[in-house]
Symmetry: C5
Subunit: 303 residues, 5 copies
Amino acid sequence: MILRPKLHWLRMLFVWRGSVLPIIMPQLVATTTFAILITLLHGAILSWKVSLNFVPFSLIGITLAIFLGFRNSTAYARYWEARTLLGTILVAARSLAGQGMSLSSDPQAAKSLAYRLCAFSHAVKHQLRGTDPRDDLRHFLSAEDAQKVQESRYPAAKSLWFTNQWVGENLRQGNIQAAVVPALEQSIAQLGAALGGCERIASTPIPFTYSVIIHRCIYLYCFWLPFGLQDAIGYMTPVIVCIIAYTFFALEALGAQLEDPFGTESNDLPLSAIAYTVEASVLELVGEAPRTEQPMLKDFVLL
Amino acid sequence: MILRPKLHWLRMLFVWRGSVLPIIMPQLVATTTFAILITLLHGAILSWKVSLNFVPFSLIGITLAIFLGFRNSTAYARYWEARTLLGTILVAARSLAGQGMSLSSDPQAAKSLAYRLCAFSHAVKHQLRGTDPRDDLRHFLSAEDAQKVQESRYPAAKSLWFTNQWVGENLRQGNIQAAVVPALEQSIAQLGAALGGCERIASTPIPFTYSVIIHRCIYLYCFWLPFGLQDAIGYMTPVIVCIIAYTFFALEALGAQLEDPFGTESNDLPLSAIAYTVEASVLELVGEAPRTEQPMLKDFVLL
Amino acid sequence: MILRPKLHWLRMLFVWRGSVLPIIMPQLVATTTFAILITLLHGAILSWKVSLNFVPFSLIGITLAIFLGFRNSTAYARYWEARTLLGTILVAARSLAGQGMSLSSDPQAAKSLAYRLCAFSHAVKHQLRGTDPRDDLRHFLSAEDAQKVQESRYPAAKSLWFTNQWVGENLRQGNIQAAVVPALEQSIAQLGAALGGCERIASTPIPFTYSVIIHRCIYLYCFWLPFGLQDAIGYMTPVIVCIIAYTFFALEALGAQLEDPFGTESNDLPLSAIAYTVEASVLELVGEAPRTEQPMLKDFVLL
Amino acid sequence: MILRPKLHWLRMLFVWRGSVLPIIMPQLVATTTFAILITLLHGAILSWKVSLNFVPFSLIGITLAIFLGFRNSTAYARYWEARTLLGTILVAARSLAGQGMSLSSDPQAAKSLAYRLCAFSHAVKHQLRGTDPRDDLRHFLSAEDAQKVQESRYPAAKSLWFTNQWVGENLRQGNIQAAVVPALEQSIAQLGAALGGCERIASTPIPFTYSVIIHRCIYLYCFWLPFGLQDAIGYMTPVIVCIIAYTFFALEALGAQLEDPFGTESNDLPLSAIAYTVEASVLELVGEAPRTEQPMLKDFVLL
Amino acid sequence: MILRPKLHWLRMLFVWRGSVLPIIMPQLVATTTFAILITLLHGAILSWKVSLNFVPFSLIGITLAIFLGFRNSTAYARYWEARTLLGTILVAARSLAGQGMSLSSDPQAAKSLAYRLCAFSHAVKHQLRGTDPRDDLRHFLSAEDAQKVQESRYPAAKSLWFTNQWVGENLRQGNIQAAVVPALEQSIAQLGAALGGCERIASTPIPFTYSVIIHRCIYLYCFWLPFGLQDAIGYMTPVIVCIIAYTFFALEALGAQLEDPFGTESNDLPLSAIAYTVEASVLELVGEAPRTEQPMLKDFVLL
């Protein structure tokens, strides 16, 4: 996630970091070069004049804009849903830790619950990013339990199970009363739902065919555009083609980034920072300091 | 569902699998042929010149785009709601299995609950796809219970009932306390709600009249379009008609696929893979290996 | 609700059932006739030439399309919310019947609960359609209770009360434990919420003023359109006016149908079929056959 | 809320009640008069010809339409959320009354709960409309309690507190068991949430700056429009300006009405009718007749 | 938040407070000046005529409008979600205070709970605004507890923990029964979820890249616009450029304000007023007067 102080409107026009320009540069250069070529040839290929004007482009343009808009709203909705689910993990972890502290009769047990929650939040991060949870888990779980999580097919779900286990054990030991268990289970269910939601977003892309249709339309549009503009605006054609292509390519590229928000591209969600927040917040409740290192902003990007 | 690694932007222009081109080929060829014909005849039918220009098409075009956009958003919303409901089945099944393991005093009983959940997830898949659940059910249910499910009018609901039954029996046997039952019932209710939601989507198409109106407008538009373009852009008419028709036909065809996401077309939801995930995840919690075969990606398509 | 197998794209152009053409025929004929008249008079009324071209129509057209789109999305959202609420009735009825079966110690009592749920689902149908529930209720309620429901100002709410009553009686008789009552009450509350939601949709139309503004704009647009097109496209004017008017009138008419989805028009929700599904599903859980007649598809329409 | 039987399409063009025409008349007349003046002057002010054509208006028009559309959807979303919250009050009040009747061992106590719910629903109405609750409250509360509600800074919240109180008292007296209290508290929490939601909508308008920007754009657009149209369509300019201005002004005026749906304008929500429905429905459950007068439809308007 | 009585339509055109004009003045003046310059030079730079007409602008304009519309809807959705979350704090605080009063057997304990809720609501305000909570907290917490909150990394979460603590202590002292704890925990969980939601909105801006793309497109558009209009509308170019630039700049600026709704700009949410309402409402329930000063409307702005 890119975090930077509000920029002056002039400064914002020329900002480089946080722009998708580097990603779409090749396409943009190719399209503009082609437009320059067509302009120099006055819209003719092998002295065969292509008879196009702006009419078809205004017919297609709006359709394209509406569907690119749909693609973008959908990608953003996935991004925001993912963020909300990660926020739910923070909320439910705090809630469960607080319930453990206040409702159990053994304060030491509550700490054990807090550690399991920290392990869960780091396990989620590593599962979604496909990284190795070993280093983070050993701060919070016994070697044996950490091993079980790592060997699991669904490590985050496995580590959530330890909180279920905590409830079962403390119920049997009489540390918590049966009547308050539904409240604890409610919080655990929320953690499970948030995890399941993240897994769903990670495993289900926007239907591939959408991307194909929109991708093709954008490139067909930008490819033919110089022929359509060249009679009307002459040597300004490449400039306008470049601007239009920038808008379309940039929005498509950003959509592709937001669609899968768990990666490590600069617009992706700061999974590490969120996992750290869960850890710090839960450990603070039980009166301890965080055990892993706080992820820092680097080049305005937080991961 | 189509799953393929991110493609280069050039490669993506010419991808064949995952494109709806094969489906809309006949219409597209028909429309383009007609446009070529009209262009050759210079827009005249039986030497009777059709007096159209682009004006009416820009008037209709935007309306069409907005309604096709509505149709598409609606179809996608159904697709995503269906995916979310299936995700809820995973979440609630894990949650219930975990509660069964931790809150009941008989570990063997918890395994029995897990088997019932696996049976449920496969029953949902078979009911939505209209296939025979026999082979999958026998892994998890007694012959007698499997028979009951198969003979039932609503097999998935019937197999969910076995989890209710489990709660009732274990409550009466004292394996679980009455006070924790609401937590278990909450998870069962979520499974029932997810099933009911899938049944709703499967049984209620987008109002047929919408499809008719939009279908008619698209074809009327593409049929008259050559007459409107031909004076302005001459022999480029068929190219442009083909591009516009491709956009409209492709989006309509994709909408029709997403609208009913439980089938086995390449953009449909991977019901088998999801049912397998529920099984593997729930059995892992009770310390067992999956019993059915894992569905694999085939030609980039997961079913 | 119209249910028909997927049609070939050519067949779909000429389908008559499920189209709104019959409803909008008068307006469409009137508008087209007027357009023909104007074309014959070359856009002049009493030899007074109306000086219009397409410019104003492109200015108004897009605004009109956006607001007609809003009107339509809103109508569809009501339709889909209503369908979801009816689906919730199925889900919660099954859930409650299952809980009654598994959590009460008296199997006969569970049957009594199932009957009350069937009565509720039919009472909802009759209340929303304004029909007489007598014939359906007598299958499930005692003559006295059926009488009470029929005489009630809010019959569906009254019949839902019988499930509350069931919980109270069985709690007092010791058939169910107090600790599981919240789970049962949760399901009853969902039934009540679904009923209340349906009542809300039925009693609150889309603000009348919206319909007036959009209706007026559509007709003003189609009335003036021939004057605007006639200089540009001559004798093709009536054809284009007819196509544009068809799109606008059809979408407006469909919006009006979907907005109030509890009626018996062909695009309305199949209340009878849903009530029957609730009955069949709940009775199957308690091991009985349905008692009312199953509503069948007739001319592709299910009511 | 305007409730009238479906009108014939011709009748609907000329309906006066329910139209916002009376409200926007002054602006509409001013704009049209100005357009007539400009047309007579042939677009020149003090023989200084204003060089405008339709181009800028098509550039601005679509932006304006999109933002007016956003403004309208937002206003409607507030209207519908408010309606849904009021519906929740009906649902939760019925639910709580039913629970009180079935779960408490003292039928007389249940009546007392029902009266408190009636008082709450009327208190909500009066608080949102800013009217005096005295007359309605005395039907349901003791003089002392009614006094407390009236003197309260948040009268509706105060009257909801009496239901909390009822639960506490009946719990202490042993009329209800502790284990069922969460079910009752759930219903009370829903009533509180619905009230809070209504207070939120009533106290938070759509950001004022939106209204300002959109208002200014609409008027700037309609003011300059005659200059842009007059060369193209001559003496038809005032007609077209009047139609376009009608669309924009009418949608803006309706948006302003819907945005604050608790007033007594004709498109506002029927708070009185809803409060009466809550009362009638809850009292019917405890076997009593309504005590306040039923609000009737007057000139097709229900308040 | 700007609160002002409804203005007359003429008055609203010239209102200054609540307009974003002051913020966008520099850009607007720069753009208009540039347009005047280009108009005086007849679209030529260094006697090199820029060959542009309105065509490219109608192609880009609609895309720009759609994406600016998306940006705005997203910003407003954040604003409204934030408002709803703050409303939930009021709702759940009232609910919890009411439950404390009615379900605990010690009225003095209920007051202690109410104070903790007031402290929480003020802690939320100060955390979101980054201000010092000292002055507000000392009204409600002991010096020691206030100190703990202030030293905490997550002060609002820490102060919410005191309500958890209250439940634990009163449960152990027998003031409340275990069976009612889930109802109390439900309310606390809602408070935690509302806090977490606010923290999420405050810490996660709309992806920076969106702002960059849209910002660039708007400025590129307004910069080239004079060249495109100047042949068509001559000396009216600066007027039209100014109007179009005003619309775009104003909507962008408002979007940027709403996106981060917890600040102290005039369109931001009235955090102080809401915290005061929570305090006043909760203290009224326990029969006390508010202890902090009521924030007042100042220049039509409530903070």
